[in-house]
Symmetry: C2
């Protein structure tokens, strides 16, 4: 197996800690066999809800069980169960976990999963967020691939505060990974669009919705703003995680992408009236795209040759 780029942390203090307790996963850096369990992870798939991740783990098992001689329990045993905060499954080269809603919850999961992969000596890992979003000028069902994340104040970077002081970080996704995902989507005949993504700290006011508890804007204000986002910033969708997901992984030198299914086109309204079975179909398309991408990589890339059965 070729020597890869190990997942690195950027924190001189970690080497002085005897045992690092990944508190929100309930895992220990020394006593949880991280290298044995997670050393071969190549793909990390994250999404908001537990249910989506549990479904994705089952789909990954079905798709990879023969290539990797997997036991069905891998898609059922929640590795992070003891902490009660996230669900996490390891299916062959895939690690998949939910991150809850919003960048604070995501931030905790990212800190701890990157440390986990660092302690596990995992290498050549890619991160992909599989999410849902509100489209801006794109039809419900479109898979939106993020080129760059924007804050809710429409800034093309992610501010991170440490000890009260704020630094802004680059929020560009990995172009090569995004291109491969677009290609896979095209091959699968899935509707796909590339553009910029606004990640907000609120589903209602910050996204210019008129249907929250509070609303201080008019329908005209909203439509003008959405048009401005589309015209001046190439925004195609709203969600609540992309700027942090992309900036955090970039700081860690990990290629990353965000693919989200649009649940509605915000230019047509705020309420999500898409029928439930349609919503599931749209979300499933994102999950299927993730699986297809991994299958293509496993088939094409000789780094997997040595890990597959019989090789």
């Amino acid at each position: 197996m070729r020597e890869g780029n190990f997942v690195q942390v950027s924190n001189p203090h970690l080497s002085t800690i005897d045992e690092d307790f990944l508190y929100h996963f309930g895992l220990h850096s020394k006593h949880s066999n991280l290298e044995e369990k997670f050393g071969d992870v190549k793909f990390v798939f994250m999404g908001g809800s537990e249910g989506r991740i549990t479904k994705f783990a089952a789909m990954a098992y079905a798709a990879l069980k023969n290539d990797f001689n997997l036991d069905e329990s891998c898609a059922q045993d929640n590795i992070a169960a003891s902490a009660g905060r996230y669900v996490m499954y390891k299916v062959g080269p895939i690690l998949t976990l939910n991150h809850g809603m919003g960048m604070a919850s995501l931030s905790i999961a990212l800190h701890e999963v990157v440390k986990l992969l660092h302690y596990a000596r995992a290498s050549d890992v890619e991160f992909i967020r599989i999410g849902t979003c509100g489209g801006v000028g794109v039809a419900a069902g479109t898979i939106c691939v993020t080129r760059r994340g924007y804050t809710q104040r429409i800034e093309p970077y992610q501010p991170v505060t440490a000890c009260g002081k704020t630094t802004n970080y680059n929020t560009d996704s990995d172009p090569s990974l995004c291109l491969k995902l677009v290609e896979s989507a095209q091959k699968m005949d899935l509707p796909v669009r590339v553009g910029n993504t606004v990640g907000t700290d609120d589903f209602y006011e910050a996204q210019g919705r008129l249907d929250g508890t509070f609303c201080t804007i008019s329908e005209v204000d909203k439509m003008n703003w959405l048009e401005e986002l589309r015209r001046d910033h190439s925004i195609i969708n709203f969600e609540m995680e992309a700027p942090l997901f992309l900036s955090f992984t970039r700081r860690a030198n990990i290629p990353a992408a965000v693919i989200c299914a649009a649940m509605l086109n915000r230019l047509n309204g705020d309420q999500i009236t898409t029928p439930k079975d349609k919503m599931y179909e749209f979300i499933d398309n994102v999950l299927k795209l993730g699986i297809q991408y991994v299958k293509d990589r496993v088939a094409q890339d000789d780094q997997f040759t040595f890990e597959k059965i019989g090789n």
Copy 2:
């Protein structure tokens, strides 16, 4: 029963919506019988993790079943199950739900629960967050009662962005509610402290921890900063929700408080090394305090007289 202060929204557009779908709860404003199911709610208890809320619902059932002639299923039926995002239980006058971690996830839950209570015509409702926190100069196990929420940039207000423009809102808790909670804690011989709370968007860098994936500060930087927070701003704890919880409820004219158990004293370190059974004990104390407060209110306040059995 006396006429109360109904839960109000501040959004002229809501009256133009035929049916409001509370998407992240999977409930409908017209077709989910909100008034019948939730019209008598007086206390909303929210916390981060599902497990804590499920436990709180069971404790509330045990404490109130006789007063309110409750069926055991009320503490087991997750009302928000169909949406797969939050857990929510209705136990007599108590509505309890989890909000995930961080202010974005909390924001969604707050928008939808305040709209829910508005549609249900609930009145005289109080909101209490039952959480965990890192103490600053307070011992592990102390129950911290928030006087005012601070942002991670140490600003004594909460910025809320609507259509890209930011407004700052007051983050003071309700003094009367806080005092009653302190009194109840004292009666129960629980260690309690009142002070200000920093609510961050990140558990690691924003709280000045040295054990995240990234760290750009030294031990001395951290200690100086924590001392400054304590000395200049009366900060007693860090968590990830207080400023939004308090400002949102204040905007909606709902009295609110935040009570959190300290899992550690950050002046002694960053890793949470408190034994698991001790952590559970500390968290249980916050839940017990919430229950005791409700029992005291139910016993003392004649607004409940008509709802109790036999009256």
